[in-house]
């Protein structure tokens, strides 16, 4: 039960990561590898803010703010110019990989490669019956619930959410109808970076962080996106949650070394039996590409 719950909290964070990655992928078709670097960056900003004595509140806002800025920076420097040139997906991907490398190495140069922690000592623990949850877990669990809830409400109920869904469907048509696709894209990249930053802060509060943790986070995002199904944001969220639960069960019953293998096995099985993903619809031939 405790394991299930830990898995759920972990899964909630994964779900948000899946959402962050899938957000960019489903609307712009960009595989946003640099998101991993943004994920790695956020805790360092918070750490620095704490060091110069800004306190948790300001630090959190600053960390998410910087992440959003870097996300938009990626769009401005890489993906928008590439799109203008009508470059193929490979160019976007290679550019993003390059950005990932540049950012991660910059972090390592600025802050060093050692594992860092956000707080010392044992975290406060709250109990309910047999369950034990740390403050960090509570914080990230509830935070994720609120964010995901707010996101889907926003997506379904507001004008901007509608434009957003329209862009996922057909960006060219949207810009022909007089909407500013560029602004919307900036918004998407910023929002995805903010979500990734939140995930990074949540999980690094518990376990510490180093510059190279972003890769695994992106991999989770990728698997959630693919397994969840092309274009299905809710699918990505659910699969992220599921991944968290499965991985913590795997760690409990075997050992931590098989975590990655378990993730990958799920991906392989789903791709083999349901290539469109669990919640994706099959595309008609003319929709592909």
């Amino acid at each position: 039960m405790q394991i299930l719950f830990n898995g759920l909290i972990q899964g909630a964070l994964f779900a948000l990561m899946g959402l962050a990655f899938s957000l960019v992928y489903s609307t712009t078709g960009v595989l946003h590898m640099a998101l991993g670097a943004i994920y790695a960056l956020a805790p360092y900003i918070l750490l620095t803010a704490l060091h110069i004595g800004l306190g948790w509140g300001v630090g959190l806002i600053l960390a998410v703010g910087v992440a959003v800025f870097v996300g938009i920076f990626c769009e401005e420097v890489l993906h928008w110019p590439f799109l203008r040139r009508n470059a193929p997906a490979e160019v976007h991907l290679i550019g993003s990989l390059g950005m990932f490398l540049v950012l991660v190495q910059a972090i390592a140069i600025l802050w060093g490669s050692d594992v860092q922690v956000l707080h010392n000592g044992v975290d406060a623990v709250y109990g309910y019956g047999d369950l034990r949850l740390t403050r960090g877990q509570m914080f990230s669990g509830f935070g994720v619930l609120i964010i995901i809830g707010a996101f889907f409400l926003w997506l379904q109920r507001t004008e901007l959410g509608l434009q957003f869904r329209a862009m996922a469907d057909n960006p060219t048509l949207l810009s022909l109808l007089g909407r500013d696709v560029r602004k919307l894209r900036r918004f998407v990249f910023g929002m995805s970076a903010g979500l990734a930053a939140f995930v990074a802060l949540g999980s690094s509060y518990d376990t510490g962080f180093d510059p190279h943790g972003g890769l695994e986070a992106v991999l989770i995002g990728v698997v959630a996106t693919i397994v969840g199904g092309r274009g299905s944001l809710a699918g990505a969220v659910l699969v992220g949650l599921l991944l968290g639960v499965i991985r913590s069960e795997v760690v409990w019953f075997t050992s931590a070394r098989w975590e990655q293998a378990a993730t990958f096995t799920i991906l392989a099985l789903v791709l083999f039996f349901r290539p469109q993903g669990l919640f994706g619809r099959t595309l008609r031939l003319e929709e592909k590409s």
Partner: protein, 289 residues
């Protein structure tokens, strides 16, 4: 002199790596980011065959080729169904999983401690212990590999690969067995890079998993991208340029901890710049469309 020879030997090893990756990217249009993992599989297989089983130098290299090409099925079978984005993501997952296997299979690979005292090349009872001798024997082996690759590229196999790259549907309609072609291309490329891994292990005489990370895969990718895809000389140019960069950085006399990060940062930057201004590479023929 020994410094120059050292660089030349490295150039030989990476020339094989870049040429084999070019077979996939430039000729097959199959962008993959798991090449360092196969390099590692080859290095480990050869090193273990030499140190644990006492197999001869050449059989060890052949074993490495066999192992890498067998494991290449992991990527190539998924290439049956997927092109573009999904395929890249799957190769990313394969990279991470193979790396975590190298890192975690303590019994076989000795985990993070790596394998030490890998013997120098021995052929027919003569030991190639000096750098000059290693260089000479590597010239022969690398020459043979380059010949095989160049021949494969000019053969009907290479031509149908290019046809598949340009239009898979049209290629199939002309009776080109696309699935078999993909498997064969991956087997050939992985076997080559496996041998390169063996050569690397024997020359360095010590390997550990950190030499086979995603960063390393991106480095290999940038060799092909920077040099140019789709012809024989492109990857050679790329390998030479990317091996020269860290040596030039050496003259800046940066502290060791920073230098490694600066090197990777430069690769990332190079990738971004190439994608902006010269997507076909310095000396390339094919560009992603």
């Amino acid at each position: 002199m020994s410094y120059l020879l050292h660089l030349l030997i490295f150039f030989q090893i990476y020339a094989v790596v870049a040429m084999s990756l070019n077979l996939l990217i430039g000729y097959g249009g199959l962008l993959q980011v798991a090449h360092a993992a196969y390099f590692g599989v080859g290095a480990y297989t050869a090193a273990l065959l030499w140190t644990k089983l006492g197999v001869g130098f050449i059989p060890g290299l052949l074993g490495a080729a066999l192992m890498s090409s067998l494991l290449s099925l992991l990527v190539s079978l998924s290439a049956w169904r997927f092109r573009g984005d999904y395929f890249v993501m799957i190769s990313l997952a394969v990279q991470v999983v193979l790396y975590s296997l190298m890192y975690n299979f303590m019994d076989i690979t000795n985990g993070p401690y790596g394998i030490t005292a890998i013997p120098k090349p021995v052929i027919m009872d003569s030991i190639f212990a000096t750098q000059e001798a290693t260089f000479a024997i590597y010239v022969v082996i690398v020459g043979m590999l380059a010949f095989i690759l160049a021949a494969a590229k000019l053969s009907p196999f290479g031509l149908s690969l290019q046809a598949m790259r340009d239009d898979e549907l049209a290629a199939r309609s002309l009776g080109i067995p696309v699935r078999r072609l993909k498997v064969e291309a991956f087997m050939l490329a992985s076997a080559m890079v496996g041998v390169a891994g063996g050569l690397y292990a024997s020359y360095i005489s010590y390997i550990d998993p950190t030499s086979f990370t995603l960063d390393e895969s991106i480095l290999m990718l940038s060799m092909v991208i920077v040099g140019g895809t789709g012809n024989v000389r492109g990857p050679l140019v790329g390998a030479a340029v990317l091996i020269a960069i860290p040596e030039l950085l050496r003259f800046l006399s940066l502290p060791d901890t920073v230098a490694a990060h600066i090197r990777l940062l430069a690769y990332g930057l190079l990738l971004i710049l190439m994608m902006h201004w010269r997507p076909q590479g310095l000396a390339g023929r094919y560009r992603f469309e």
